[in-house]
Structure formats: C-alpha cells, structure tokens
C-alpha cells in the first residue's frame, strides 16, 4: 500500500539545514495497523506529513497504492489527499461552526457528492463511532473523546486507502484514549490501513507493528501481538 525508498528530508533554517529524515526505507501492506514511535523531534510528524502529501520529500521515492507521488501541484495533491488519505489530528481540527455531521460530510463535499447523500453518509459514519445522536451538535458541545471520534468519522467518510493519525490520543485522558483506540482497532479489523504516530507505549502496543525512529532513521521495526483496547473500556 505504502512504499518508501531512501527518503530524505531537511528543513532549511536560515543558512544551515536541519536534516530530519536521513534515508527511510519503509513499506506498509494493506490492512496493517502501524505505530510510529520515537522521541520528540525525531521526525515522526515529518514522516507522516510526507506520507499525507502535506509536505514534500527532498530525495527518495514514495508510492501510494501503486501511484508514484511526485511533483504534485497543489490541485493534484488536494485531489490525491481527498481520494487516498484520511487524517486524524491530536487537536481534532474540527471546524467549529459546523455541526458534527457537517464536519464529517466535508471531505465528501470536496468529492462533489450531493448534499443529501453527504448527509446520509455522514450519519452512517457517525453511527459507526457511536455519535449518531450528536450529529447536529457543534464541536464546542462535545467532549474531547467525542470530538476525536467525530474526526475519525470524518477521516473515514471519504473511504480513503490509508488513515494517518498524528498522536490521536495525545490530548485525551487514558480512558478516553482507550476508547478511541478501540474504535481504531475496529476500523482496522474491517480492513483499513492505519498509521499512528504516538509517544505512548501502551497505545503503540495496541497496534500490530511498531516502527521506531531515532535521529531520522528507523532503528527498529517489529511486528507485535496486538493488545485489544476493548478490555479497558
């Protein structure tokens, strides 16, 4: 599903450059649930942003579902993001004046899906994350866990190939974190490919594979026995 070869990325800071990713080789198959770990500043978010086409790589190659991701203009990148990727952010990034359902429907709007169908699909995904009865509420009326579940529903709504989550539980307490992980596991059980950046070992343990970044390279990449979150909720 994802294939990365010899990926390099540096940020220019005035006259000198900060070399963040120094040759990453990495691939993800369909249906995997991968945790990306590493200390702060190790380049986890940078990697995820490149995978998400929010940022560009300097060197190396990136292939997503057989499509080489290279030299995309803004419009093309937007279309690919919309079609291939779903994002889940630490701070949820819901649009505050739109109801839960409208937030979930937004990627579908950019796919030019009709209004009615958008709404129906949004309700369907809100139901999957257990928030159907909250569909007309604004984000400000929801708890952190609920917001993240709306964000997950939104990421799912466009039926992307890969879900990318940057510290999805970073702003949540542990109980809520487990609820969100339970949801993510279930989505993964249904066959979706998911990448999660996290600091927290217990969250990483709930994935099926852990990739460790250190100083811009992968120092460890292991398949693990998944801990089910269900038992903690």
């Amino acid at each position: 599903m994802i294939e990365i070869k010899d990926l390099h990325k540096s940020y220019k800071m005035g006259s000198n450059a900060l070399h963040v990713l120094k040759g990453i080789n990495f691939s993800v198959e369909e249906g995997e649930l991968v945790a990306i770990m590493g200390s702060s500043g190790s380049g986890k978010s940078t990697l995820l942003n490149i995978l998400g086409m929010l940022d560009e790589l300097d060197e190396g190659s990136y292939t997503l579902d057989g499509v080489p991701i290279k030299n995309l203009n803004e419009t093309k990148a937007a279309q690919y993001r919309n079609k291939f990727l779903g994002f889940i952010f630490q701070s949820f990034n819901l649009i505050n004046y739109k109801s839960a359902a409208e937030n979930v429907a937004l990627p579908l709007y950019y796919q030019k899906v009709g209004r009615k169908e958008r709404h129906d699909k949004a309700l369907k995904y809100l139901e999957q994350v257990g928030l159907k009865q909250w569909s007309s509420h604004l984000p400000s009326e929801l708890s952190g866990g609920q917001k993240q579940r709306v964000a997950i529903a939104r990421a799912m709504a466009a039926e992307p190939k890969v879900l990318l989550a940057d510290e999805p539980t970073g702003a949540l307490d542990s109980k809520t974190s487990y609820e969100v992980m339970d949801l993510i596991q279930k989505i993964n059980d249904a066959g979706n490919t998911i990448l999660i950046v996290t600091h927290e070992p217990d969250i990483a343990d709930m994935c099926k594979r852990i990739v460790h970044l250190k100083d811009g390279v992968i120092v460890e990449d292991k398949v693990i026995d998944q801990v089910r979150a269900q038992q903690y909720v």
Binding site: N49, G52, L54, D55, E74, T75, A78, Q79, R81, N82, K83, F87, F89, Q90, S91, N93, I95, Y97, L106, P107, Y109, Y110, Q111, R115, R154, A158
Partner: protein, 409 residues
C-alpha cells in the same frame, strides 16, 4: 455559485465580523450612494436643459440679419441687411433635400383691445409652417392657414395669457379684437407649457402685417427645420451651406459674423450635450474614487478574515479542498459584501431621489433620476470591484500551506 455550503460559510464569516463588515461595507455603500446621486444630478441638469430647449423643434435653424461690420464686394461696412419674401422661395429652391419646414417672421408690437380691456403684446407675423417649427400647441380653434395668408385676413392666434387678460372667462374664438385700432378676428388660442411670457404673444398672418405696415415684402428673419433624419454632422454642413449661400446673396464677407447669422439648434444642443457629458464624467470619476476607497477597505477585511481562518483553510486543504475552491470561497464572500453594501447604497440613493426629485422646481433642474442602465452598470462595477477586492486575499488563502496551518501551536 448557489451552493448552500458556500453561503453558509460566507454568512458565518460575516456574522463573526459584524462590525468590521459593516464599516467596510458602509464605505462601498457610501461610494455607490454618492455615485448615483451625482449621476442623477447631472441627469437632472440635462433634463432641465432639454426642457428649456424643447420649446422648439430640435432640428430648427434661425437665419437672422443685422448690419455688416466689414466692407465687402464693393459695399462699405455698416450696411443693414434686409431679408425679403423671395428669400423663402430661394431657400426652398436651393435646398429641396435638406429643408423640412420654413417660415418667415415679422415682428410687431400692438395694443390690443376687447371691450374695455386693453393690453400691450408682441405680434409675430408668420406663415402656417411656423406652428411646427415652434411646436405651438393650439388648444382652441386653429392656427393660421394658407387661405389667411393669401387673403391677408385679419385673424389672430392669441396666447392663453392674452385670452385671460382680454376675455377673462368669455369665449374668445370668433370675437373681434382691435390691434392698434384695426379689428382682428380671434381664430385660435395657444399654450406654451412652462413659459408664461410666450403666452403673452400673438400670431398673425405674415402677409396681413406686411400690408398693414407699408405694403412691404420685408421680413425680420427666417425660421426653418431641416430633414429630421440628419445627424449633427449633416445638420452642421447644411447650416454652413445655407450661411455661405446667404452671405454670397447679400454680398456679406464670409468672415462677417453680424451681417448674417445662422443659428443652429443642433450645434447649441451638442454644446450642451458635451457640457453635460463632462459633468457626467466628473460624477463618475468622483464616485469611482470614493468606491475605490471602499474596495480597498473590503480587500482589507478579507485579508483579516483569511488570516483568522488560516487554520480552517488548512483543515479544508488537508481534506481535499483545491486552491481554486478556496479562491472561489473568498472571492464570493468579497463579492457578496461588496454587492450587498452597494445595493444598500443604491437603495438609499433611490429613496432620496424619489422623495426629493419631484419637489425640485427649478427650470435648470428637472426629474433627477437613475435609469436602469445606471443600476445595471453599478451592479457590474460592484461585482467586478468585489472580485478585485477579494483577489489578493484569495491568493493569500490559496497559498496557505496546510502543514503550516495545522501545526499544533
């Protein structure tokens, strides 16, 4: 364009910036308000001018004579030029294509008496076609006709004021009035809207007056209209030919402006038209300058809006919004604010014109109004202005990098 989601966002954005939107919108509304009032005022002046002129046919030419100021063709200066009846026939023969109607004029003053009422009036002794040239409206009876002219009939068409003075409410048609002691039969009464003085005069047959005053064939001047299909250029060419011909006929130097004068309404009209179009242009320029201030204001508010919504735009881009869609959103919002404010300005200007317009009673100013084309033009200007105001902020929005916008800080 008529996407509900886009409108929902625009309304949200406006709601969140009520005061700012109002202040900048006000400047655009004000710009349009001033623009429309200026244009309407110019229009009012124009109407005023035309009303004053409209008394006469707009395709009329007057040929007048005076005394020469230059020696020419063997004659000394200071010679008095006197037109005669045969000048009329001469014009008819010389310009069959150009001429429409023609009449000689002979002026006199008279003391008119009916029973015990008397009054002093000016008399214009004319030919039948003069009615059309002067656009005289006969409300009672008839105008002078060819039979009156042939028989040198002592008949008169009197102005409404003359009738009121002499007859009061009594019926005047068919009655005899003494002009300097001679009995004239009243055959018609005419009006002239807007001009009381014109209604204090009397029309009589040319031949009658010529025979009363010394059996002459003298005439004071010549009034005529030219082919109504002529444009300004053709009209001017005709009046030039006429002038040259008459100067040759009476041996007046081509440079002599007072021996023979040909006065062309079209020329005067075009002078006024160019005057009012200059005023119009000034109005438009001033209005546009004010409008530009408003547009800059709206551009400003849009920059702020975009800045405040950076994160949201980043989220949208992450979810698949293309730059073009973001540009559309910003520009539509800008056009919406501009157009709404502009229409409010237009509406107030319209109300003021509707209230004030009919109450202005001045000969130089009549019926100030905005026509449909002004409104249409204003709308186009507003939409274009809105697009321009939104352009820079929209480009800014389109260039927002989602990764920068989404950084959690």
């Amino acid at each position: 364009m008529f996407d509900r989601d886009i409108w929902q966002e625009i309304i949200y954005s406006i709601k969140n910036n009520k005061l700012r939107t109002f202040l900048t919108g006000f400047s655009v509304g004000w710009g349009i308000f001033i623009l429309v009032l200026l244009l309407a005022s110019v229009n009012g002046m124009q109407n005023g001018f035309y009303l004053q002129f409209n008394d006469d046919a707009t395709n009329s030419i007057f040929v007048r004579s005076g005394s020469t100021t230059k020696a020419y063709g063997g004659f000394e200066a200071n010679r008095k030029i006197q037109f005669k009846n045969n000048d009329i026939d001469y014009i008819r023969k010389s310009f069959p294509e150009d001429l429409e109607y023609i009449s000689a004029r002979y002026y006199a003053n008279t003391t008119a008496r009916y029973k015990s009422e008397t009054g002093s009036y000016s008399v214009q002794a004319v030919e039948p076609e003069y009615q059309i040239i002067e656009k005289t409206i006969v409300t009672d009876g008839r105008y002078i006709n060819i039979n009156d002219l042939v028989s040198k009939a002592k008949v008169a068409v009197i102005g409404r004021k003359v009738k009121e003075d002499l007859f009061d409410t009594e019926d005047a048609i068919g009655k005899f009035v003494e002009f300097n002691g001679l009995p004239f039969r009243v055959i018609g009464i005419f009006t002239d809207d807007g001009d009381d003085n014109a209604e204090r005069s009397i029309y009589a047959p040319l031949s009658t007056y010529q025979s009363i005053y010394g059996n002459t064939d003298y005439i004071d001047n010549i009034a005529l209209t030219y082919n109504p299909n002529y444009d300004l250029t053709k009209a001017l060419s005709f009046s030039n030919r006429l002038e040259n011909l008459f100067k040759r006929r009476y041996k007046v130097s081509p440079e002599d402006q007072s021996g023979i004068r040909v006065w062309n309404y079209a020329e005067a009209f075009s002078d006024i038209s160019s005057f009012t179009s200059v005023l119009n242009a000034i109005g438009i320029v001033v209005g546009l300058l004010i409008l530009i201030a408003g547009i800059v204001g709206i551009g400003n508010i849009m920059v702020f809006t975009v800045k405040e919504r950076t994160k949201e735009i980043g989220i949208r881009k992450a979810l698949g919004a293309e730059p073009g869609q973001i540009i559309k959103l910003v520009i539509l919002e800008s056009v919406f604010i501009t157009a709404m404010s502009g229409f409010i300005g237009l509406f107030f200007a319209w109300i003021i014109l509707a209230i004030v317009g009919p109450n202005i009673q001045s000969p130089a100013f009549a019926n100030p109004s905005v026509d449909f084309s002004t409104v249409f033009t204003a709308t186009i200007i507003l939409v274009v202005a809105g697009v321009f105001a939104g352009l820079i902020p929209a480009m800014k929005a389109a260039n927002i990098k989602p990764i920068v916008a989404l950084r959690d800080k």
